[in-house]
Symmetry: C2
Subunit: 384 residues, 2 copies
Amino acid sequence: MSRLLSRVHVSGPTSRASLTRETGLNRSTIGDLANELTQLGLVIEGESVAVGRSGRPSHLVVPRSDNAVVAVDLGVDRIAVALVGLGGEVLERRERPHARGEHDVEHVVESLAQMVDDVLSGRDDVRCLGLGASVPGAVRERDGLVRFAPNLGWVDEPFTELLRKRLDMPVATGNDANVGALAEHVRGAAVGFNEVAYLSGSVGIGGGFLVNGQPMGGANGYAGEIGHLLVDSNGPACRCGNIGCWEMKIGENQILTQSGRLPGGGPRAVAEVVAAAQAGEKRATKVLANVAEWLGVGLRGLINVFNPEVVVLGGHLAQVWEAEQDHVNEVLDRTRLISPHGEVVIRSAALGTDSSLLGAAELAFAPLLTDPQALVASYAAVRR
Amino acid sequence: MSRLLSRVHVSGPTSRASLTRETGLNRSTIGDLANELTQLGLVIEGESVAVGRSGRPSHLVVPRSDNAVVAVDLGVDRIAVALVGLGGEVLERRERPHARGEHDVEHVVESLAQMVDDVLSGRDDVRCLGLGASVPGAVRERDGLVRFAPNLGWVDEPFTELLRKRLDMPVATGNDANVGALAEHVRGAAVGFNEVAYLSGSVGIGGGFLVNGQPMGGANGYAGEIGHLLVDSNGPACRCGNIGCWEMKIGENQILTQSGRLPGGGPRAVAEVVAAAQAGEKRATKVLANVAEWLGVGLRGLINVFNPEVVVLGGHLAQVWEAEQDHVNEVLDRTRLISPHGEVVIRSAALGTDSSLLGAAELAFAPLLTDPQALVASYAAVRR
């Protein structure tokens, strides 16, 4: 049942014939499982038909998007909240800027709770199964404690626990790059790859990796912190206490301030810099070239360490890549890579700036997809 | 059968009672499997007895070390060849220095073949199931092609193929750090850990990682190349074409030349430098402090990227760690690590300079442990 539900969640409406073929189960078993999922209110069947290999019509199994989760993308400069249905459709969406000085955790939890209420209001048609949150920091796997989120100024904040209590629903929190990697793997630029390096670019730079097809969390869930990799011993100083960290070279605010703009502008502001460079503005051109250079230097190290099949660049790094890929490629070709550059696919994120938001939704859907029966039962128990 | 054989290969003689308890299979199934393994000549039973939980005597299942593989550790300065029995016992061992200018691949294959013949001569009591080789370079998983081994001067050398043809036996080749990690995980300092970073130190610095308990090979088997991570933008130049690579700071030859010794001395020469520093020699002390500093700088990055449970330092880095751990710890504490330093165990390799050699043996044992029946059958077919 888990496999069937996961399949239609990821791929959308699928005929029973395809499900039979893919799973290797026989037709009547697939029929029984589809019936059970229908009983649980998770799929509908037969509204439309497809013609199977045999030439006979085959029922379509369709995920019911009125089973939904709330997805939260907590950025440094904005908060996005969405209601996402089974199958991945975004049903509702709210976004607001997140001003500096508003990063106090109680304040963030209260803002979020209001946005969640807003998104859910008037959606009594929807069964909300939980909430997934993406946070730009190191999140302890065990309990969702935000161990360290330098760009929010958080250390050991019980964000997950506070939000769970405030909203009285299951909350799962993950690092923004880790969940972004998940979303790109499920329905983005990394579909079908087992060795994935995803880079999320905003104020900080995060990394989310899949190794042997599985998310790399490390001992406590903190793995993938690539923003503080050393790329330049000559500086500048980073707020982490080190010098020459990668995010001090390619982070969003570096691009903005170096090109004479105010920090905190988000991806749209970076897009302006890219547009200015394309229009021939010298300062913007120079800044982008510089970012491309450092992007290449860091990527070289990651490619040697991970030997990925695909590198997916998310957030503002997608824009940098689109504008400067020749330059980045030139840096990668400049020295001999152990994992040859030609064997690595580098591309921008398919989900744009929504990778982390949609990944947060996947985090919240995970318990349902793992054990549909138990999850629906526990939901019913809670609401009774 | 695979599980049973793997268990006694790793842990040595084990009672049927323990095997029953651990596998959750019933007593008679364990008995049947043990009998089959006995028939295949892979274990013996009942020579000794242990008392099970029930107070009844329980047969011991003992791996037969007359099933053996040849293990090869091809270093830059030495070649080690061993005959290793099922269970991990080293039955025979040869070692010879590997002089500069002798790195031509045909020459290496010929030398190795002679050493292998030597190790096997007079051991007609042993069933040799194949050969595993450890190489200081990037090895393509698919066919064992040595893609790039800068310290041997090799690019795209069909080493594995040549050795297989020359010896007419199955040959599996792996990167020295990857197989070293494997050996330390099976019977060394990383037993019981799922998130492992192993560093092999010799002329180059290699990395072998376990993520979610599985070896990280990457797309083609090249993952873990950490020797060329940038640690100092101010140099020196590395033969890879980059500047300030980690192995230019903590590699064996750097320690030797900086302390006024000749390069190419191997771990014994590094031990001399450590001894000299402990005896108060100023130059040696300064060199070691410098190495400790750069070891810490690089480890900081790896700990943030992988969030390992354990970091195992192998080769000469084990000696550096033993001598300088306070200094290395001080570097790690100097700045905030995202994965807190206190949660990471750092230790030297338990298998000393034999990690890669014993890991090469594990590589060769893998097909037997995966499918004992098929492997024994194919061996019988070859020898008939």
